[in-house]
Amino acid sequence: MDFYLTALLQGLCFSGIALGVYISMKIFNIPDITTDGSYTLGGVVTAISLIHHQPGYIVLPAVIILGAVAGALTGIIHTKLKINALLAGILVMYALRSVNLILMGRPNLPLNSITSLFDIINIFSNPNQNTFCILIVFVIIITLLIGYLLKTDFGIAMRATGNSESMIRSLGVNTDRMKIIGLAIANALTATSGYLITQFQGFADINMGIGIVIVGLGSVIIAEAIINWLKITSVWLSLVLMLTGAIIFQFVLAITLDIGVNPNLLMLVTAVFVLLIVSLPRLSFKKSL
């Protein structure tokens, strides 16, 4: 049972990545690979600040700001230097690896007996239940913030940017600026996932971000399948489904390990699972022809 509770908690930790990838991929139509780097950056900054006993009100803003800077860099390279978004993201991600290594000074930083976000309440005897409460509150706050943002005039302009660039420019929006801000928000969200996971697992690692973008993609794709299936147009519901997607994704991984699949095969299983979800709607479409 605890095994699946852990999957649920991890899913909640990954909600930042799910929302981040939703913003970059679904709203802006930009495949953003910066994710791998900004997630690790979030984790690394968290570990370093906690070890140096920085208070919580400094750690989280620092993580958010640095994540945003990483995203904005990708945005600037993509829009101002007119470099393909995928390549821009890869470049920033690659460079961040050095930044992360230099920040940590070594490839792995454990948080032994250091008070983290998850130690602030102690209602239940099972620490996982305490963690669950904190994560739920955290995720609700981020979702409310992003949901509100997307409902504002600025948010509508954001959503229109990925949809019809010619239209939104003729309506007075600087699309370059919009994309830079969008990628900044997306990577700030991703960095908060690094912040949560590092405190949840108790260490930051230089390799923690490798392939993490697939977690976001998987979550968004699962959510998209449900959105298309139920023809959902509400922004709020879409956001909730992204979070659900992140949790379902972790459950699939947990089940895979639970039924005794070799852990070395996990990434292959993940890739096949994502491929299945992407191709299912197309396969069923073919049958109906």
Binding site: Y148, L149, K151, T152, D153, F154, I156, A157, R159, A160, N163, S164, S166, M167, I168, R169, S170, L171, G172, V173, N174, T175, T233
Partner: protein
């Protein structure tokens, strides 16, 4: 309202595929004028329109709108004067956004897009009333995504969106080219009505010579990036529809 002085535009300058799209054009378009531009493909019509809109910056010459030199002003900054309707109905509206959200953006075209929620009951009522004037029954569908509508409906809504905020110049780039004859007729009549009601300065590009004859109070024929004919209101009155066909003969 619009002054174009000695404007040239060359694409791919110095390369084998160099195109001299606009070759020294001078036009003054007065406030409230409705100019129709005709000309064969590659005559420079769309480039000229894009020079006014700011999607293209001239190689030489100046463009001014309302006595402001806008030659180097980006397109999104010219939105304070200009509203556009594109040839492709998909370009003028955002498919995934609801009709309501599309109208919200249009309503704040000249204003900053801030962090407050502008779509409220009052705004919904205003949009419904505006859309009802089209007589297409779309006022009941304002929560639907724009993508669920037909091309004709989307073009008609794009036109309506242009007058949601203060608008002085309306640029119509072959707005009916992708539409069936009946929708095209509705869109052109709506455009004509809005231009007259709101006293807009308008430029229409069209390949439909019937529309060129029926609408607008000035016709410009372009060819090879220059103005071949410029027929003002007085001369247009004495023009026959067949004369237009003869120009292309």
């Amino acid at each position: 309202m619009i002054d174009i002085k000695q404007v040239y535009k060359t694409f791919n300058k110095g390369k084998p595929n160099q195109v001299d799209a606009v070759n020294g054009i001078d036009i003054h378009i007065g406030t409230g004028e409705f100019v129709v531009i005709i000309g064969s493909n590659g005559s420079g019509k769309t480039t000229l329109l894009n020079l006014v809109a700011g999607s293209v910056t001239p190689t030489a010459g100046t463009v001014s709108i309302d006595d402001n030199d806008v030659t180097d002003l980006a397109d999104y900054r010219r939105s304070q004067w200009i509203a556009r309707v594109f040839q492709n109905p998909l370009s003028g509206t955002a498919s995934d956004l609801s009709i309501l959200d599309n109208f919200r953006l249009a309503a704040i075209r000249t204003k900053p897009k801030g962090l407050s929620i502008g779509v409220n009951d009052h705004f919904k009522k205003e949009v419904k009333e505006k859309i009802a004037t089209l007589g297409m029954g779309l006022e009941k569908k304002i929560e639907q995504p724009m993508g669920t509508l037909s091309g004709g409906q989307r073009q008609a809504l794009t036109l309506l969106m242009s007058i949601m905020d203060s608008c002085q110049v309306l640029l119509l780039d072959e707005p009916t080219a992708a539409l069936d004859p009946r929708s095209a007729d509705v869109v052109m009549k709506t455009a004509d009505k809005l231009i007259k009601d709101f006293k807009l300065t308008a430029i229409l590009i069209t390949h439909n010579l019937k529309d060129a004859y029926n609408y607008g109070n000035r016709i410009i024929q372009m060819g090879e990036g220059i103005i071949l004919k410029d027929i003002d209101t007085a001369k247009k009155a004495s023009l026959k529809q067949n004369d237009l066909f003869d120009w292309f003969g």
